[in-house]
Amino acid sequence: MSYARRALTVAWKDLAVERRSKETLNALVFFSLLLLFVFQFTLGGDRERLAAVLPGVLWLGFVLSALLALGRTFLVEREHDCWEGLLLAPGDKSAIYLGKLAGNLALMLVVEGLVLGLFVVFFDIDLGRALPGLLVVVLLGTLGLAAVGTLFAAMTANVRARELLFPVLLLPVQVPVLLATVKATEALLLGEPLGAVAHWVKLLLAADVVYVVVSVLTFDVVLEG
Protein backbone atom coordinates (compact mmCIF):
# COMPACT_ATOMS: atom_id res chain seq x y z
CA MET A 1 0.00 0.00 0.00
CA SER A 2 1.44 3.35 -0.91
CA TYR A 3 2.31 5.90 1.72
CA ALA A 4 -0.46 8.31 0.79
CA ARG A 5 -2.94 5.51 0.60
CA ARG A 6 -2.07 4.36 4.12
CA ALA A 7 -2.40 7.87 5.48
CA LEU A 8 -5.76 8.33 3.84
CA THR A 9 -6.95 4.97 5.13
CA VAL A 10 -6.15 5.95 8.70
CA ALA A 11 -7.89 9.30 8.30
CA TRP A 12 -10.91 7.71 6.68
CA LYS A 13 -11.09 5.07 9.40
CA ASP A 14 -11.04 7.68 12.16
CA LEU A 15 -13.66 9.83 10.49
CA ALA A 16 -15.85 6.84 9.78
CA VAL A 17 -15.65 5.77 13.41
CA GLU A 18 -16.46 9.27 14.49
CA ARG A 19 -19.33 9.64 12.08
CA ARG A 20 -20.89 6.47 13.38
CA SER A 21 -20.42 6.96 17.09
CA LYS A 22 -20.20 10.76 17.19
CA GLU A 23 -18.82 10.38 20.70
CA THR A 24 -16.13 12.98 20.44
CA LEU A 25 -18.22 15.31 18.33
CA ASN A 26 -21.04 15.26 20.83
CA ALA A 27 -18.73 15.91 23.75
CA LEU A 28 -17.13 18.82 21.93
CA VAL A 29 -20.38 20.42 20.82
CA PHE A 30 -21.87 20.11 24.27
CA PHE A 31 -18.76 21.57 25.82
CA SER A 32 -18.80 24.48 23.39
CA LEU A 33 -22.41 25.23 24.22
CA LEU A 34 -21.50 25.22 27.88
CA LEU A 35 -18.72 27.70 27.21
CA LEU A 36 -21.14 29.89 25.30
CA PHE A 37 -23.61 29.96 28.15
CA VAL A 38 -21.02 30.70 30.80
CA PHE A 39 -19.61 33.45 28.66
CA GLN A 40 -23.08 34.93 28.30
CA PHE A 41 -23.73 34.76 32.03
CA THR A 42 -20.57 36.63 32.88
CA LEU A 43 -20.28 39.13 30.08
CA GLY A 44 -23.49 39.12 28.10
CA GLY A 45 -24.73 42.53 29.15
CA ASP A 46 -21.58 44.50 28.50
CA ARG A 47 -20.91 44.57 24.77
CA GLU A 48 -17.65 46.43 25.07
CA ARG A 49 -16.08 44.01 27.50
CA LEU A 50 -17.46 41.18 25.44
CA ALA A 51 -15.79 42.47 22.29
CA ALA A 52 -12.53 42.91 24.18
CA VAL A 53 -12.52 39.38 25.56
CA LEU A 54 -14.02 37.62 22.56
CA PRO A 55 -10.82 36.57 20.77
CA GLY A 56 -9.42 35.05 23.94
CA VAL A 57 -12.61 33.23 24.86
CA LEU A 58 -13.09 31.99 21.33
CA TRP A 59 -9.65 30.45 21.26
CA LEU A 60 -10.07 29.17 24.79
CA GLY A 61 -13.04 27.27 23.47
CA PHE A 62 -11.05 26.04 20.48
CA VAL A 63 -8.10 24.94 22.62
CA LEU A 64 -10.17 23.14 25.23
CA SER A 65 -12.07 21.37 22.48
CA ALA A 66 -8.75 20.49 20.89
CA LEU A 67 -7.53 19.00 24.16
CA LEU A 68 -10.65 16.87 24.34
CA ALA A 69 -10.44 15.75 20.73
CA LEU A 70 -6.69 15.15 20.64
CA GLY A 71 -6.65 13.46 24.01
CA ARG A 72 -8.99 10.87 22.63
CA THR A 73 -7.34 10.42 19.29
CA PHE A 74 -5.71 7.11 20.16
CA LEU A 75 -8.49 6.04 22.47
CA VAL A 76 -10.03 3.71 19.92
CA GLU A 77 -6.74 1.91 19.39
CA ARG A 78 -6.12 1.63 23.10
CA GLU A 79 -9.58 0.48 24.11
CA HIS A 80 -9.95 -2.11 21.42
CA ASP A 81 -6.47 -3.57 21.76
CA CYS A 82 -5.34 -2.24 18.43
CA TRP A 83 -2.23 -0.58 19.77
CA GLU A 84 -0.03 -3.54 18.85
CA GLY A 85 -1.51 -3.33 15.39
CA LEU A 86 -0.18 0.18 15.11
CA LEU A 87 3.25 -0.88 16.34
CA LEU A 88 3.44 -3.74 13.88
CA ALA A 89 2.25 -1.76 10.89
CA PRO A 90 4.69 -2.19 8.03
CA GLY A 91 6.54 0.63 6.39
CA ASP A 92 6.94 4.20 7.42
CA LYS A 93 4.73 4.81 10.43
CA SER A 94 4.61 8.51 9.79
CA ALA A 95 1.83 7.73 7.33
CA ILE A 96 -0.24 6.86 10.36
CA TYR A 97 0.65 10.20 11.88
CA LEU A 98 -0.46 12.12 8.80
CA GLY A 99 -3.66 10.16 8.64
CA LYS A 100 -4.39 10.85 12.29
CA LEU A 101 -3.49 14.49 11.79
CA ALA A 102 -5.84 14.81 8.84
CA GLY A 103 -8.66 13.19 10.78
CA ASN A 104 -8.08 15.35 13.85
CA LEU A 105 -7.84 18.48 11.75
CA ALA A 106 -11.13 17.72 10.04
CA LEU A 107 -12.86 17.04 13.35
CA MET A 108 -11.45 20.13 15.03
CA LEU A 109 -12.33 22.39 12.12
CA VAL A 110 -15.91 21.14 12.12
CA VAL A 111 -16.27 21.86 15.82
CA GLU A 112 -14.59 25.24 15.52
CA GLY A 113 -16.90 26.16 12.67
CA LEU A 114 -19.82 25.24 14.83
CA VAL A 115 -18.53 27.22 17.81
CA LEU A 116 -17.81 30.25 15.69
CA GLY A 117 -21.25 30.05 14.17
CA LEU A 118 -22.87 29.82 17.58
CA PHE A 119 -20.86 32.77 18.86
CA VAL A 120 -21.81 34.88 15.85
CA VAL A 121 -25.47 34.08 16.27
CA PHE A 122 -25.75 34.35 20.03
CA PHE A 123 -23.56 37.41 20.46
CA ASP A 124 -24.59 39.17 17.31
CA ILE A 125 -21.07 39.50 16.00
CA ASP A 126 -20.49 40.97 12.59
CA LEU A 127 -17.72 38.98 10.96
CA GLY A 128 -18.05 40.61 7.61
CA ARG A 129 -14.72 41.47 6.08
CA ALA A 130 -12.86 39.67 8.81
CA LEU A 131 -14.05 36.24 7.72
CA PRO A 132 -11.44 35.27 5.09
CA GLY A 133 -8.55 36.38 7.29
CA LEU A 134 -10.15 34.66 10.24
CA LEU A 135 -10.43 31.43 8.30
CA VAL A 136 -6.73 31.57 7.46
CA VAL A 137 -5.77 32.16 11.09
CA VAL A 138 -8.10 29.47 12.37
CA LEU A 139 -6.80 26.96 9.85
CA LEU A 140 -3.14 27.65 10.62
CA GLY A 141 -3.70 27.72 14.36
CA THR A 142 -5.68 24.50 14.35
CA LEU A 143 -3.01 22.80 12.28
CA GLY A 144 -0.40 23.84 14.82
CA LEU A 145 -2.45 22.47 17.71
CA ALA A 146 -3.25 19.26 15.91
CA ALA A 147 0.29 18.66 14.68
CA VAL A 148 1.92 18.59 18.11
CA GLY A 149 -1.22 17.31 19.76
CA THR A 150 -1.30 14.17 17.66
CA LEU A 151 2.35 13.44 18.39
CA PHE A 152 1.97 14.02 22.12
CA ALA A 153 -1.25 12.03 22.18
CA ALA A 154 0.66 9.04 20.82
CA MET A 155 3.39 9.59 23.42
CA THR A 156 1.00 9.77 26.33
CA ALA A 157 -1.39 7.12 25.07
CA ASN A 158 0.00 4.37 27.24
CA VAL A 159 1.43 6.16 30.22
CA ARG A 160 0.06 6.60 33.72
CA ALA A 161 -1.90 9.78 34.39
CA ARG A 162 -2.34 10.21 30.65
CA GLU A 163 -5.23 12.65 30.94
CA LEU A 164 -3.21 14.90 33.21
CA LEU A 165 0.08 14.64 31.39
CA PHE A 166 -1.22 15.34 27.89
CA PRO A 167 -2.39 18.94 28.47
CA VAL A 168 0.60 19.61 30.73
CA LEU A 169 2.93 18.70 27.90
CA LEU A 170 0.95 20.29 25.09
CA LEU A 171 -0.04 23.69 26.40
CA PRO A 172 3.36 25.24 27.19
CA VAL A 173 4.67 24.15 23.80
CA GLN A 174 1.61 25.66 22.13
CA VAL A 175 1.95 29.12 23.68
CA PRO A 176 3.35 30.66 20.47
CA VAL A 177 0.38 29.34 18.51
CA LEU A 178 -2.05 30.60 21.13
CA LEU A 179 -0.46 34.03 21.25
CA ALA A 180 -0.36 34.36 17.48
CA THR A 181 -3.94 33.22 16.91
CA VAL A 182 -5.47 35.30 19.68
CA LYS A 183 -3.62 38.49 18.73
CA ALA A 184 -4.36 37.98 15.04
CA THR A 185 -8.03 37.23 15.72
CA GLU A 186 -8.24 40.31 17.90
CA ALA A 187 -6.83 42.54 15.19
CA LEU A 188 -9.01 41.01 12.48
CA LEU A 189 -12.18 41.40 14.52
CA LEU A 190 -11.29 45.03 15.05
CA GLY A 191 -11.41 45.43 11.29
CA GLU A 192 -7.74 45.31 10.44
CA PRO A 193 -6.76 43.68 7.16
CA LEU A 194 -4.88 40.41 7.04
CA GLY A 195 -1.73 42.26 6.02
CA ALA A 196 -1.65 44.00 9.39
CA VAL A 197 -1.17 40.68 11.13
CA ALA A 198 1.26 39.29 8.58
CA HIS A 199 3.94 38.67 11.23
CA TRP A 200 1.56 36.51 13.27
CA VAL A 201 0.54 34.59 10.17
CA LYS A 202 4.17 34.04 9.28
CA LEU A 203 4.88 32.80 12.80
CA LEU A 204 1.97 30.38 12.53
CA LEU A 205 3.21 29.14 9.17
CA ALA A 206 6.73 28.64 10.55
CA ALA A 207 5.36 26.89 13.61
CA ASP A 208 3.18 24.60 11.52
CA VAL A 209 6.07 23.62 9.28
CA VAL A 210 8.35 22.93 12.23
CA TYR A 211 5.74 20.93 14.11
CA VAL A 212 4.63 18.78 11.19
CA VAL A 213 8.17 18.06 9.99
CA VAL A 214 9.43 17.13 13.47
CA SER A 215 6.39 14.98 14.13
CA VAL A 216 6.70 13.15 10.83
CA LEU A 217 10.37 12.51 11.52
CA THR A 218 9.90 11.32 15.09
CA PHE A 219 6.59 9.47 14.95
CA ASP A 220 8.37 6.23 14.07
CA VAL A 221 10.42 6.59 17.22
CA VAL A 222 7.31 7.02 19.34
CA LEU A 223 5.61 4.01 17.83
CA GLU A 224 8.53 1.70 18.41
CA GLY A 225 6.84 0.45 21.53
Partner: protein
Protein backbone atom coordinates in the same frame (compact mmCIF):
# COMPACT_ATOMS: atom_id res chain seq x y z
CA UNK B 1 36.89 13.73 38.58
CA UNK B 2 33.46 14.42 39.94
CA UNK B 3 34.89 15.21 43.33
CA UNK B 4 37.38 17.70 41.88
CA UNK B 5 34.57 19.36 39.99
CA UNK B 6 32.70 19.63 43.27
CA UNK B 7 35.58 21.34 44.99
CA UNK B 8 36.08 23.74 42.08
CA UNK B 9 32.38 24.59 42.17
CA UNK B 10 32.48 25.18 45.91
CA UNK B 11 35.53 27.38 45.55
CA UNK B 12 34.05 29.35 42.69
CA UNK B 13 30.78 29.85 44.56
CA UNK B 14 32.67 31.07 47.59
CA UNK B 15 34.66 33.47 45.44
CA UNK B 16 31.46 34.61 43.79
CA UNK B 17 29.86 35.28 47.14
CA UNK B 18 32.81 37.32 48.29
CA UNK B 19 32.74 39.33 45.09
CA UNK B 20 28.97 39.85 45.23
CA UNK B 21 29.16 41.34 48.70
CA UNK B 22 32.73 42.57 48.99
CA UNK B 23 33.68 43.86 45.58
CA UNK B 24 30.40 44.82 43.98
CA UNK B 25 29.28 48.28 44.90
CA UNK B 26 26.03 49.36 46.44
CA UNK B 27 23.80 50.16 43.52
CA UNK B 28 22.79 53.77 43.19
CA UNK B 29 19.04 53.55 42.63
CA UNK B 30 18.11 50.20 44.11
CA UNK B 31 20.45 49.88 47.02
CA UNK B 32 21.89 46.57 48.17
CA UNK B 33 18.92 44.56 47.02
CA UNK B 34 20.46 44.68 43.56
CA UNK B 35 23.02 42.13 44.80
CA UNK B 36 20.39 39.49 44.14
CA UNK B 37 21.38 39.87 40.50
CA UNK B 38 24.58 37.96 41.25
CA UNK B 39 22.61 34.77 41.82
CA UNK B 40 19.57 35.48 39.69
CA UNK B 41 21.29 36.07 36.34
CA UNK B 42 23.85 33.23 36.68
CA UNK B 43 21.06 30.81 37.60
CA UNK B 44 19.05 31.71 34.52
CA UNK B 45 22.02 31.63 32.17
CA UNK B 46 23.29 28.34 33.59
CA UNK B 47 19.83 26.88 33.05
CA UNK B 48 20.06 27.90 29.40
CA UNK B 49 23.29 25.90 29.19
CA UNK B 50 21.45 22.98 30.74
CA UNK B 51 18.65 23.14 28.20
CA UNK B 52 21.02 23.38 25.25
CA UNK B 53 22.86 20.30 26.52
CA UNK B 54 19.50 18.57 26.97
CA UNK B 55 18.53 19.33 23.37
CA UNK B 56 21.85 18.12 21.97
CA UNK B 57 21.89 14.99 24.13
CA UNK B 58 18.32 14.22 23.03
CA UNK B 59 19.37 14.49 19.40
CA UNK B 60 22.38 12.27 19.96
CA UNK B 61 20.18 9.72 21.68
CA UNK B 62 17.69 9.60 18.84
CA UNK B 63 20.45 9.08 16.31
CA UNK B 64 22.72 6.71 18.20
CA UNK B 65 20.48 5.30 20.93
CA UNK B 66 23.34 5.75 23.36
CA UNK B 67 22.16 5.33 26.95
CA UNK B 68 24.82 7.74 28.13
CA UNK B 69 23.26 10.50 26.04
CA UNK B 70 19.91 9.77 27.62
CA UNK B 71 21.40 9.95 31.10
CA UNK B 72 23.01 13.27 30.23
CA UNK B 73 19.69 14.63 28.99
CA UNK B 74 17.95 13.40 32.12
CA UNK B 75 20.47 14.92 34.50
CA UNK B 76 20.66 18.15 32.54
CA UNK B 77 16.88 18.44 32.64
CA UNK B 78 16.80 18.01 36.39
CA UNK B 79 19.47 20.57 37.10
CA UNK B 80 18.10 22.92 34.45
CA UNK B 81 14.61 22.94 35.91
CA UNK B 82 16.00 23.44 39.40
CA UNK B 83 18.14 26.36 38.25
CA UNK B 84 15.45 28.06 36.21
CA UNK B 85 12.96 27.62 39.03
CA UNK B 86 15.40 29.22 41.44
CA UNK B 87 16.09 31.90 38.86
CA UNK B 88 12.41 32.75 38.65
CA UNK B 89 12.05 32.74 42.44
CA UNK B 90 15.07 34.96 43.01
CA UNK B 91 13.91 37.24 40.22
CA UNK B 92 10.55 37.51 41.88
CA UNK B 93 12.16 38.26 45.24
CA UNK B 94 14.23 40.94 43.55
CA UNK B 95 11.25 42.34 41.75
CA UNK B 96 9.02 42.88 44.75
CA UNK B 97 10.98 45.68 46.42
CA UNK B 98 12.22 47.19 43.17
CA UNK B 99 9.20 46.97 40.89
CA UNK B 100 6.59 46.69 43.58
CA UNK B 101 5.29 43.41 42.16
CA UNK B 102 6.17 39.74 42.56
CA UNK B 103 5.49 39.18 38.89
CA UNK B 104 4.95 41.00 35.64
CA UNK B 105 4.13 39.64 32.24
CA UNK B 106 6.98 41.29 30.41
CA UNK B 107 8.63 39.42 27.57
CA UNK B 108 11.57 37.93 29.39
CA UNK B 109 9.67 36.79 32.46
CA UNK B 110 6.93 35.23 30.36
CA UNK B 111 9.41 33.39 28.16
CA UNK B 112 11.33 32.01 31.13
CA UNK B 113 8.12 30.91 32.82
CA UNK B 114 7.11 29.00 29.70
CA UNK B 115 10.56 27.42 29.61
CA UNK B 116 10.18 26.33 33.21
CA UNK B 117 6.81 24.71 32.64
CA UNK B 118 7.94 23.01 29.40
CA UNK B 119 10.91 21.33 31.01
CA UNK B 120 8.99 20.53 34.14
CA UNK B 121 6.72 18.61 31.80
CA UNK B 122 9.82 16.86 30.50
CA UNK B 123 10.66 15.67 34.01
CA UNK B 124 7.06 14.63 34.59
CA UNK B 125 7.11 12.54 31.43
CA UNK B 126 10.27 10.83 32.67
CA UNK B 127 8.69 10.15 35.99
CA UNK B 128 5.56 8.68 34.47
CA UNK B 129 7.12 6.11 32.17
CA UNK B 130 8.48 3.05 33.89
CA UNK B 131 10.23 1.38 30.99
CA UNK B 132 13.63 3.10 30.79
CA UNK B 133 14.07 2.55 27.06
CA UNK B 134 10.69 4.01 26.23
CA UNK B 135 11.25 6.89 28.63
CA UNK B 136 14.52 7.65 26.89
CA UNK B 137 12.89 7.66 23.47
CA UNK B 138 9.85 9.74 24.38
CA UNK B 139 11.86 12.25 26.37
CA UNK B 140 14.30 12.64 23.52
CA UNK B 141 11.43 13.49 21.18
CA UNK B 142 9.97 15.92 23.70
CA UNK B 143 13.39 17.45 24.26
CA UNK B 144 13.76 18.18 20.57
CA UNK B 145 10.24 19.56 20.18
CA UNK B 146 10.82 21.82 23.19
CA UNK B 147 14.16 23.04 21.86
CA UNK B 148 12.70 23.85 18.44
CA UNK B 149 9.84 25.64 20.14
CA UNK B 150 12.09 28.04 21.99
CA UNK B 151 12.65 30.49 19.13
CA UNK B 152 8.92 30.45 18.43
CA UNK B 153 8.21 31.22 22.08
CA UNK B 154 10.78 33.98 22.08
CA UNK B 155 9.39 35.78 19.06
CA UNK B 156 5.73 35.38 19.87
CA UNK B 157 6.18 36.67 23.40
CA UNK B 158 8.45 39.50 22.31
CA UNK B 159 6.02 40.66 19.63
CA UNK B 160 3.16 40.36 22.07
CA UNK B 161 4.86 42.66 24.53
CA UNK B 162 6.39 45.22 22.21
CA UNK B 163 4.13 45.66 19.22
CA UNK B 164 1.57 48.39 19.84
CA UNK B 165 2.66 48.45 23.42
CA UNK B 166 5.78 50.05 24.79
CA UNK B 167 7.64 48.16 27.51
CA UNK B 168 5.96 49.30 30.67
CA UNK B 169 8.62 48.57 33.24
CA UNK B 170 12.35 48.96 33.30
CA UNK B 171 14.33 45.84 33.97
CA UNK B 172 16.14 46.19 37.27
CA UNK B 173 19.90 46.27 37.46
CA UNK B 174 20.85 46.81 33.85
CA UNK B 175 24.52 47.16 34.49
CA UNK B 176 26.51 50.14 33.39
CA UNK B 177 29.40 47.94 32.38
CA UNK B 178 31.67 49.03 35.16
CA UNK B 179 34.24 46.44 36.16
CA UNK B 180 33.17 46.27 39.79
CA UNK B 181 29.78 45.00 38.68
CA UNK B 182 30.89 42.98 35.66
CA UNK B 183 33.51 40.87 37.40
CA UNK B 184 31.32 39.65 40.29
CA UNK B 185 28.70 38.79 37.69
CA UNK B 186 31.15 36.84 35.53
CA UNK B 187 32.69 34.99 38.47
CA UNK B 188 29.26 34.00 39.72
CA UNK B 189 28.21 32.96 36.23
CA UNK B 190 31.27 30.75 35.98
CA UNK B 191 30.59 29.36 39.44
CA UNK B 192 27.05 28.37 38.60
CA UNK B 193 28.05 26.79 35.30
CA UNK B 194 30.68 24.73 37.12
CA UNK B 195 28.07 23.84 39.74
CA UNK B 196 25.77 22.73 36.93
CA UNK B 197 28.56 20.56 35.50
CA UNK B 198 29.26 19.04 38.92
CA UNK B 199 25.62 18.25 39.62
CA UNK B 200 25.14 16.75 36.16
CA UNK B 201 28.31 14.67 36.38
CA UNK B 202 27.30 13.32 39.76
CA UNK B 203 23.71 12.69 38.65
CA UNK B 204 24.84 10.88 35.50
CA UNK B 205 27.14 8.69 37.56
CA UNK B 206 24.25 7.90 39.88
CA UNK B 207 21.93 7.12 36.97
CA UNK B 208 24.50 4.75 35.51
CA UNK B 209 24.88 3.01 38.86
CA UNK B 210 21.12 2.74 39.23
CA UNK B 211 20.83 1.29 35.74
CA UNK B 212 23.55 -1.27 36.46
CA UNK B 213 21.94 -2.17 39.76
CA UNK B 214 18.62 -2.77 38.06
CA UNK B 215 20.19 -4.88 35.30
Amino acid sequence: MVKTLGWVAAGALAAGLVMAFGVAPREVTQGNVQRIMYVHVPLILASYVAFVVLALASLVYLIRRDAGADRLAHASGEVGVMFVGLGIATGSIWGKPTWGAWWTWDARLTSVAILFVMYLGYLLLRGTIDDPERAARYCAVLGIVAALDIPLVHFSVYWWRTLHQPPSLMKPGGFTGSASILWPLLINLLAFVVLYAYFVARRVRLLRAEAEAAA
